[in-house]
Symmetry: C2
Subunit: 248 residues, 2 copies
DNA sequence: ACGCGAGATTGATCTGGGTCAAGGAGCGCC
DNA sequence: GGCGCTCCTTGACCCAGATCAATCTCGCGT
């Protein structure tokens, strides 16, 4: 996965995406070196919880490979996913000691971490890092608000289509895109995880996926391997007029 | 309203809350003076649209008095409110030309604005402003994610209770709180606007409010004036275990 | 005081998606 | 290669909330 190449994201140069996209897009060499010093890697297995909501969290970082989710849980067990972390996404909140959500690896995962205190110190002295972080946070806020529309006003079928569109778009931007408007990817989530993201039950997710398949909007090989023959058709199903800014 | 006093927020010192809370909590006098120079006020009437989604937006700012909403609309007319702006809340996204949402004043409203370009320039030279803005954006992100749980997983009754809790909490932090766990405020939203916030219909909102009234969770004088006799009871109805971080 | 109109309430009915329940399909493991 | 496990699909039924349709209320202007 690290070897993948896309001209717009410099994910493949060097060994860590954070160096290029997540926090340091415009940093000079000194600043990069400082970051190197407080950087370390952690690996997690599929299903492993990276942080529990309420736990002390002494690092921030970004996903190198694999997929993680942010979820909230009510005491009666209802859960809602509030974020989907794909490679290059940032985790953690500078200036807060406790994690506000459960962070769970849904696939095997490698994270590039920075100890929080030195990272915060660096932010104080390196406006560009703070700036970049602000930009990223604003993007996440937009994505969260886009998702509020999905959760509040879309039908089950539209919700599924919206999720597939998000994953497809993000995935395609990481891979060399397949030819001719066609889009191929593997679903990184179980039906249950999709349901938690969409505010549905897993049965409804399954039914709507079957329905979209029946109608030729998507093709499925096995349970996870998806082909989108016509992405515009999918967007239409999602109720998206503009192919707007849904960014996971 | 400008004259209100609360020890934790220095809203009442000076003539503009942004000076103290929104962007400049820890700025020195020089920095404050710079902000003063690019500051101006705008007034809006109830119902007036401040910015249309997709319009050029050449300012950022914060609400001084009144209430505004951020909404998204699908082409078939379904709308979802994605943010509620109460006094001292920040509007606008540095580094983006176009507004992503409709911003509508739901009451008469005064905004303290800064022309965007000079504000952005100031951010580059004044780390504390960028820092403060990052903090605020992270708070908004948390609020948006909290709201995703409300939209995705809560029942209509819980949604109403959650909204009342948010408004009550915010309102109480601006006013001197009424005695003995009791909480009194005026609903700043119509039933329809509440429905748009909660992903419900206005009929359901009305029914649930009646039901909460019948059960003694809230008291209503007229259509808008609300008394919460027991805030903990309301939180229980909202399904909130911890009285956690819902911040509008 | 009166009448008008926007907003709110309440009722009757319908339906999308939840719930409960019964298999099926793939896959790793002995 | 069959056993068991986890994940997924499909069916039957139900219910919370949407929809459609009357009123009702109250603030406001004359």
């Amino acid at each position: 996965m690290l070897g993948n190449s896309h001209p717009d994201l410099s994910l493949q140069c060097g060994d860590c995406p954070i160096r290029h996209r997540a926090v340091c897009a415009r940093c000079d060499e000194d600043e990069l070196d400082q970051l190197e010093e407080i950087k370390y890697y952690r690996s997690f297995e599929a299903g492993q919880t990276i942080v529990w909501s309420g736990d002390r969290m002494d690092f921030v970082g970004s996903v190198v490979t694999g997929i993680a989710t942010l979820t909230q849980t009510m005491e009666d067990g209802r859960t809602q996913m509030v974020g989907l972390l794909l490679p290059s996404d940032f985790v953690g909140r500078p200036g807060r000691a406790m994690a506000a959500y459960d962070v769970v690896a849904t696939t095997d995962l490698v994270m590039c971490c920075f100890r929080k205190k030195p990272f915060e110190d660096m932010m104080l002295h390196t406006p560009r890092i703070a700036q970049r972080l602000l930009e990223m946070t604003l993007d996440e806020l937009d994505a969260a608000r886009e998702w509020m529309l999905v959760l509040g006003r879309k039908t089950a079928r539209e919700k599924i289509a919206s999720l597939l569109a998000i994953i497809g778009r993000r995935d395609a931007s990481l891979k060399v895109s397949a030819g001719a408007g066609q889009m191929v990817f593997d679903l990184p989530l179980t039906r249950e995880a999709m349901a938690d993201y969409l505010g549905l039950t897993l049965e409804t997710v399954s039914r709507q996926i079957s329905s979209l398949k029946r109608d030729g909007v998507i093709e499925l090989a096995g349970k996870r391997h998806v082909t989108i023959p016509d992405f515009d058709r999918l967007l239409e199903e999602a109720g998206d007029d503009n192919d707007g800014g849904l960014v996971a």
